[in-house]
Symmetry: C2
Subunit: 158 residues, 2 copies
Amino acid sequence: MKPGNIQITTPSPVRAELAHKFANWQTRKPDGFVCPVRDALDRIGDKWTMLVLIALADASMRFSELHRAVPNISKRMLTQTLRELERDGLVLRRVFPTKPPSVEYELTDLGCTLFEPVGTLVRWVEQSHGPIQAARQRFDAAAPSARGGQVILATDKQ
Amino acid sequence: MKPGNIQITTPSPVRAELAHKFANWQTRKPDGFVCPVRDALDRIGDKWTMLVLIALADASMRFSELHRAVPNISKRMLTQTLRELERDGLVLRRVFPTKPPSVEYELTDLGCTLFEPVGTLVRWVEQSHGPIQAARQRFDAAAPSARGGQVILATDKQ
DNA sequence: CAGCATCCAGTATGATACTG
DNA sequence: CAGTATCATACTGGATGCTG
């Protein structure tokens, strides 16, 4: 096929699987193209959803507990995020008609299943954090002017 | 503590692990709070990164091949996405000084490692797609006016 | 071919104030 | 307490035109 003598040696079977699925998603519809990955990322990829979910991993919580547990989230965003999660059946909302009212949020079974993929993702980040940082430094150091970065070019060039 | 007699029965160990980590991320810094999950989602959670990555799972590709392979992406976004990936060391960019120039993109070893978490995520989406759809329909059908949805209120009361 | 620069619109999020 | 409503803004991404 192509010159295979590069240092790409990962024989991951997942890779082929993904490539195949990707092809399928494409050939479906010439205009629509709804890919499950995009679908997933639209759901959990926003700024707060994962944080709320993980906060709820510990225990079910009331609104204001969550508000305290998730750093810097606004009530507006917390409400919105919880509504989405409730709508998707990942979180259960239970209202207790006390006075003043109290509301508890907890993960559903479906919501709990999210922890497998998320756990995998977290482990990946923890492992690749170092290499990525290194790669960035290399990149930023190597091509300062090539990308319009505001760098003070001295007389020397790397 | 709280009424625990609900149908939440998942005994996932990952759950406790995540909860614990979350607590750690929080107690770190009162202001910063950089959570690896957010970090990861910032990296792969945007509109195109995953698509490009998966497109490259099949084989290394030239710029215009990618442009064709990823549906509806603009050159602007493709370039931008590839730069980020290159910077993070997930993708390797190789320029061939032909005329006109040609550039090949391929996954690095580090980039390939992403397929494990992503594969897990994809599998999760495929499995939970049905339940989520169902939950949504239930939710939307059950509480049309309760969520500020634009429902036609006969008496015009708000 | 493989980009980059510019402009612009839509959306995601934040700040603030008000309510049952 | 647990939200809702409104306004302000920052950022993302799309369209377009220009280059070597």
